[in-house]
């Protein structure tokens, strides 16, 4: 190669450098912001919009804001946000009315969860699937004992005291772990060759997907007690969880069905040619591939579910949003609702945005795998 280039007579002085207006910063600005009069107009309008919104927002959020202290007096001189409100209410915002002396139990459960996830990132660890199934069975038991107490010398904490971000995460976590297997079963049922099973699943999915989540929650809170024999009393949180899981299972079922439909017929035929039973072929051949195909859809359902946890306010649970805004009714903090909503919005945003980025990352990773 080197010898070849030497053979070609080349004089750098012959050609002119590209015009300055098409390279570097100037070129970029020209091409992306001022390529036509209309585009220039759009750019100016966008700049004006940014100037109208961004500086005041930043001033209020950061530069003029008070971050220290936890009393209303700390903000006496501020024109910006009073984050002292969040400091003052942090306990309730994160834990609800969970007894302060027992809050370490929630943190311990969180640490166990994080530690339990480490093996998933160890590349040499082979038995990930069986480990995941085991975790799915064992962890909820550990977490329940830690949260509710009443055993092993832990003080009992009734679920009506659960609240804040903790409660939101419990609802989302239970919803997610219950809705995925339930949704898979419903999706398989919908494609079953047994008419009775198929009709049942189709009816359930279409009925639940057709109504708003609020009516499902109303049903869970008002009608479930009617369905049970007198004297049997269901915990309010448990009722909400049942409604929630059934609702998201119906949505999950449709996502999974998409994956099942996208599987080539040959895969089903190959599985039965191997002599696998229905459950073997589903569990070993079809579902692993189908689920992998619809991971983005599954994560999207999770995001929707996480946002929908806010609706439990309507049946009176003290979730993160409720805990954050309820303090603004306090006479000392009147007029601080802006801070409350801004803080809640930021937390929800971080969770949902992280999940959606993760889903895009997975999608790219899987696509890369399929390309070669």
């Amino acid at each position: 190669m080197a010898t070849q280039t030497e053979n070609i007579p080349f004089n750098a002085g012959d050609s002119l450098p590209p015009p300055a207006a098409t390279t570097g910063v100037v070129g970029w600005v020209r091409q992306n912001l001022f390529s036509s009069p209309f585009n220039a107009l759009l750019t100016l309008a966008a700049l004006y919009l940014l100037w109208l919104t961004v500086p005041p927002a930043l001033n209020w959020l950061i530069f003029d804001a008070t971050f220290t202290g936890d009393t209303p007096e700390a903000c006496a001189a501020t024109t910006g946000a009073c984050w002292s409100y969040v400091n003052a209410r942090a306990g309730q915002i994160f834990f609800g009315f969970y007894p302060p002396d027992e809050r370490w139990r929630i943190l311990v459960a969180l640490i166990i969860l994080v530690a339990a996830f480490v093996p998933f990132f160890v590349r040499t660890f082979e038995a990930k699937l069986s480990y995941a199934v085991g975790l799915l069975i064992v962890y909820p038991i550990i977490a329940y004992i830690l949260f509710a107490g009443g055993a092993f010398g832990l003080e009992a904490v009734p679920t009506r005291d659960w609240g804040g971000l903790f409660l939101t995460l419990v609802i989302a976590g239970v919803g997610i772990t219950a809705s995925l297997p339930l949704g898979i079963l419903l999706a398989l049922g919908r494609r079953s060759e047994m008419p009775v099973v198929r009709i049942l699943c189709v009816t359930f999915i279409e009925l639940v997907r057709g109504v708003p989540l609020i009516t499902v929650l109303f049903m869970a809170s008002v009608m479930l007690p009617l369905f049970l024999p007198p004297g049997v009393n269901f915990d309010k949180l448990l009722r909400a969880l049942v409604g929630f899981s059934l609702f998201s299972a119906a949505y999950m079922a449709e996502v999974v069905r998409g994956g099942l439909q996208a599987m080539p017929k040959g895969q089903y035929e190959a599985a039965s040619a191997l002599g696998l039973s229905y459950w073997q072929s589903m569990g070993l051949i079809i579902l692993p591939q189908a689920l992998r195909m619809v991971i983005p859809g599954i994560v999207n359902t999770f995001i929707g579910l996480f946002k929908d946890t806010t609706l439990v306010i309507i049946i009176g649970l003290f979730d993160f949003l409720n805990a954050t805004q309820s303090g603004t009714n306090d006479a000392n903090w009147i007029g601080r609702s802006m801070e409350a909503y801004a803080f809640a919005a930021m937390i929800y945003w971080v969770f949902c945005f992280a999940m959606s980025r993760y889903s895009i990352h997975l999608e790219n990773k899987l696509n890369r795998g399929r390309q070669h």
Partner: protein, 397 residues
Amino acid sequence: MAVQREATTGQMPTKPAPWNDPRIRSLFIQAVTIVVIVGFIAYIAHNTASNLARQGIAGGFDFLNYTAGFGISFSLIPYSEVSTYGNALLTGLLNTFLVAICGIVLATIVGFVVGLARLSSNFLVAKLAYAYVEMLRNIPLLLQLIFWYVVVLSALPTPRESLSFLDAFFLNNRGLTVPRPILEDGIGFLVVGVVIAIAAVVFMTRWAKRRRDATGQPFPTVLASLAVLVLVPIAAFLVSGAPLEFEIPTASRFRLDGGLNLVPEFVALLFGLSLYTGAFIAEIVRAGILSVGKGQVEAASALGLKPGQTSRLVVIPQALRVIVPPLTSQYLNLTKNSSLAVAIGYPDLVSVGGTVLNQTGQAIEVVTIWMIVYVSLSLLTSLFMNWYNRKIALVER
């Protein structure tokens, strides 16, 4: 089957044990399912009946004729505290429809504008649209609704200092006041005019397509349809003596007189729903347009089509194929999400139903009404979607 097998193998196949015969096993599973479900329903029905009897609640829909005794802050039909529960629920249903229809129109506009902006070659505009989408769709709708209701609307000026638009629309912390339509006799002519115009457009579109298929002559269908749709009803309107008037709200010293006042709850719900759903529609629009291959556009310009023709005849029809099905489910989502009205006190079907449920204890009946309304809406939507899909599906040979 059995005979054939006998002939080829020459010996009777061993009859499988009953629990290994797939047909028998499937029948058995289905029978067990039916028994379990029927038993479960019977158990629930028994419990419900005895619970209701204990609480002294009579089943049935008779309660719809009883006096409701509670007020509703916003109503499209005459409603007062002496109206019946049936009237209250009807009021709620109409309120749901009103906010859903207005929301669908607004969200579509927002969604298309933002979706196209995300594809803009202008860096700033594309990034702003991206920020809009990522911000709005990652924050719970309920939080956004409460934000609009509590923070934004209460920061608006008092009725005295309303923000006004064209001196006919007034926005203040009591809501939005718009001209109130007053229907007079002869409004039927307008309806007839609209029906005639629609029929004419359908007929003309068919004729134009036949002619184009036969002769290759294009016909400005879109322009002509618009003209017919606008001119014919206007003609009917004028012929029948202009039977529609608007009562324009007027600002006096302390308040607004006349006009139709849309309560703050309605405005907050409408804003929240349309901006939130708009973010999702924007993504659908973007994906739809991106799904049309670049080669299509190049082929169109190679054939000599102008840019406008390219997008109207080549890009948009193919993009719509991808856009319409998810768009329809967003419309459905918006309608269902309008039930969050209960959190900010807009009297929609769920909110009014909740009050009725609390007052009468008729949980089963009220939930049944909710179910019937929302499920039939979604069935209608999926019927429409299937019809539209069949109509525009790619015909492959």
